[in-house]
Symmetry: D2
């Protein structure tokens, strides 16, 4: 009965239009698999775009918010988990996901990829630069993908 | 699109058979309203019983676990949020619930009721002893109920 | 080389003048034993008074702050630990203390006493009402004292 | 009266002998400035080495531990803060430090540097590879140093 949760991490205010488009499509693809989408839940950037994509495809979305309330949550978050603990909630994002996909890169995203490596949680970099890939591969077993299809294929192996 | 979340808090290993029966029925009643049930998620006591009740009634269940993994989660938790932060997660239980119902009492439950009062979150004591009611009423605005019907009526007012 | 830490918990804005006076003297007495004082660190109520007492007696003071910064810390906190996690930091207050003394009562204090019981951490209620004592004694092994001398004698047994 | 806190982050079990030697000397230099040293507190790697260096120089050491108890703390930690929240405590390490110095690199360290950038906390990479420097400089304003003397000079500007 336990639902499979795929976490999508990415930049907030600083996310590029390309990152957001990728995140929207990734959210759609995750929902199409019947998986629950988990993000940091804020109403900006990759978090918001991925949730909107999943919602459009009829999927369930969870936002693990840094704030005490859901006032700044994405409108496409169905289940708002209010942690009130700022960036310390990044560890929860990682631990609660069966697989973690970083869509683009930002400081918060980097902390989540790093914690995933520390926790031996399966993690994939989607659309990352060579610099980011090389940095993380020296720290642990990080996977990479250039397309949503590749990312979903990887997650299928992990999530059964 | 945001789902309404009602948190049910209660004792774990030390929960009485009466507490567990009440929690099971409460979980059923919450699900029957179309609300999401949130608990501490472990596979014991009030947490487990409430989740089983909600699940039986076709409801969605969230467990905010103290552990890094879902290994000890209730089998009736559909969405396992793994915090890895022990009792510090009690604050998340409270903040993420639109309304909090304490079903019976235990040390962890008491911490959650107290945090709810601190955070001005609507909180109700179901089936509490006079001693517990008097203690918490000196600390803030806590409601009480003797029956599941009363508890649901209270939650309806809060959750619209 | 490990320093002994005694935690003093109590109300913030709502602390009575008597609570604050008691906390000040308790802080002094803890420092006089050579113990480090730990509080929730804010510049109000029992937290502030206990830190000022300990500081006046030449002791070391730690504040485990709910905020991201020390802007609202007591001026008598020497070491400010900024958690940025609100009331979730109450669990850290308890876990980091060799012994916990609740000085008066408030909603936050109640959450800390409850977590101490849950974590099997030695905890004493100083100057508590019968109602508070009876409530917590049904939840676990809580000690009580009517005077600072009694509280220090109890802590001496625990802290060697 | 508030003490200045300098955080030193670095690898645990995987730290190299060079990292540990650098951390030991860095701990000594921080203590020599009269600053408090803060680390992740475990009895391995950079955390342990930095604390031993600071302790040898007569400085005060704080360990922000991931565990519920201090059982696995470095023997050179004077003040053990037990968070019981695993890697979520990395955010506390950053927020509680006036300046953060990463000594070498590891997955946990990377998460702390990333959070420092996210929180706009002054952060310096000591002895980092070009790959690490380039990665973090694309995410925010990170400083670098090749020697302890340079690192201390940087911290002096921040810490007054």
């Amino acid at each position: 009965m336990r639902k499979i949760i795929v976490g999508v991490m990415g930049a907030g205010e600083s996310a590029s239009a390309i990152d957001r488009q990728l995140a929207f499509e990734l959210g759609r693809a995750i929902a199409a698999q019947g998986w629950v989408l988990l993000t940091g839940g804020r109403n900006v950037g990759v978090m918001d775009a991925a949730c909107r994509g999943a919602q459009q495809a009829g999927g369930l979305t969870i936002g693990i918010l840094p704030d005490r309330t859901a006032a700044n949550a994405s409108a496409a978050v169905a289940i708002a988990i209010c942690t009130g603990m700022g960036n310390a909630r990044n560890a929860i994002n990682v631990l609660s996901s069966d697989a973690v996909i970083a869509c683009g890169m930002g400081a918060g995203t980097a902390s989540e990829v790093a914690i995933a490596l520390k926790e031996k949680k399966p993690v994939l970099l989607l659309g990352a630069t060579d610099r980011s890939i090389e940095f993380f591969q020296q720290l642990g077993a990080v996977e990479t993908a250039d397309s949503i299809e590749q990312a979903i294929d990887w997650a299928k192996i992990i999530c059964g």
